[in-house]
């Protein structure tokens, strides 16, 4: 009977994946920002997404980052709240699409801030580097999830 990897034409067997995970774990503990770590991680990521992650432009945020900004609910917007980029009230629009930036939580129209973040990584209001706050990764449970590679 053929294995999952053979059927799905994925590279490597479960041993090499285990090695890869071990390497990633070691690298992460040594240096969370290592390029080598990124390259190893990229092997677990579909090819179509690799380019964006590895050849990230110096200025600007990746599109995936901008698309994943958390939305602000319409009911959390007050009448006087306005986007500081277009200077228009959020509620002037019947369907406002407002997002908040990670960490500083400053709010903007998605349409406005997306243009800015495509060429800058700073919050327009406080100049916080929006990409510098890495999500905290809890690696204590990684060992338990031996089958995670299956979903790659």
């Amino acid at each position: 009977m053929s294995t999952y990897e053979e059927e799905h034409n994925t590279s490597g067997n479960s041993n090499s994946r285990r090695d890869l995970r071990a390497q990633i774990r070691n690298l992460y503990q040594e240096d969370g920002s290592s390029t080598a770590l990124l390259q190893l991680l990229a092997q677990l990521i579909p090819e179509s997404m690799q380019e964006e992650l590895l050849n990230e432009k110096e200025e600007g945020c990746p599109e995936t980052f901008i698309d994943s900004l958390p939305r602000v609910n319409k009911c959390d917007l007050k009448g006087a709240d306005a986007c500081s980029i277009c200077c228009c009230g959020y509620l002037d629009d019947t369907h406002p699409l407002v997002v908040k930036l990670p960490h500083c939580s400053h709010r903007f129209d998605l349409e406005c801030v997306a243009v800015w973040l495509s060429k800058s990584r700073t919050c327009p209001l406080c100049r916080d580097d929006v990409l510098s706050h890495k999500p905290k990764v809890d690696i204590s449970n990684v060992e338990l999830e031996e089958d995670w590679g299956m979903y790659g």
């Binding site: 980029i85 277009c86 200077c87 228009c88 243009v115 800015w116 327009p124 209001l125």
Partner: protein, 149 residues
């Protein structure tokens, strides 16, 4: 010409209804992206009692791109060159789309109050300023009397 963004209309209205002390900005009637600006020299600076003419232009990409600002009045200042170009971080690398015409002009006014010869645009002026600050300030005062009346 494309229609004027709402933000520019709002900024222009506020510049007229709630002007910044010591600063005027009037849009040109033929081009609402082009402003004639005056800035009064700050008190206790070598530019005191001078009124300086500037031009300000909002590029098509504004507010994603900074306004273009230039002194038209001749001025002796280490961060302003003989063409009136200004060396100011918020006009270049530190621009943010949350800044506005009024905040930019306030920064220019603040630059008149505190010249920074260590980050020069006009190298000869900055050298004078570092070598003999008293003489440079006297010259800045003299130019203010001569050209900024």
């Amino acid at each position: 010409m494309a229609s004027l963004p709402k933000r520019i209309i709002k900024e222009t209205e506020r510049l007229v209804s709630d002007p910044v002390p010591g600063i005027t900005a009037q849009p040109h009637e033929d081009n609402l992206r082009y402003f004639q600006v005056t800035i009064e020299g700050p008190q206790q600076s070598p530019y005191e009692s001078g009124v300086f003419q500037l031009e300000l232009f909002l590029p098509d990409d504004y507010p994603m791109e900074a306004p273009k600002v230039r002194f038209l009045t001749k001025i002796y200042h280490p961060n302003i060159d003989r063409l009136g170009r200004i060396c100011l971080d918020v006009l270049k690398t530190n621009w943010s789309p949350a800044l506005q015409i009024r905040t930019v002009l306030l920064s220019v006014q603040a630059l008149l109050a505190s010249p920074n010869p260590n980050d020069p645009l006009a190298n000869d002026v900055a050298e004078d300023w570092i070598r003999n600050e008293d003489a440079a300030i006297a010259k800045a005062r003299e130019w203010t009397q001569l050209y900024a009346k």
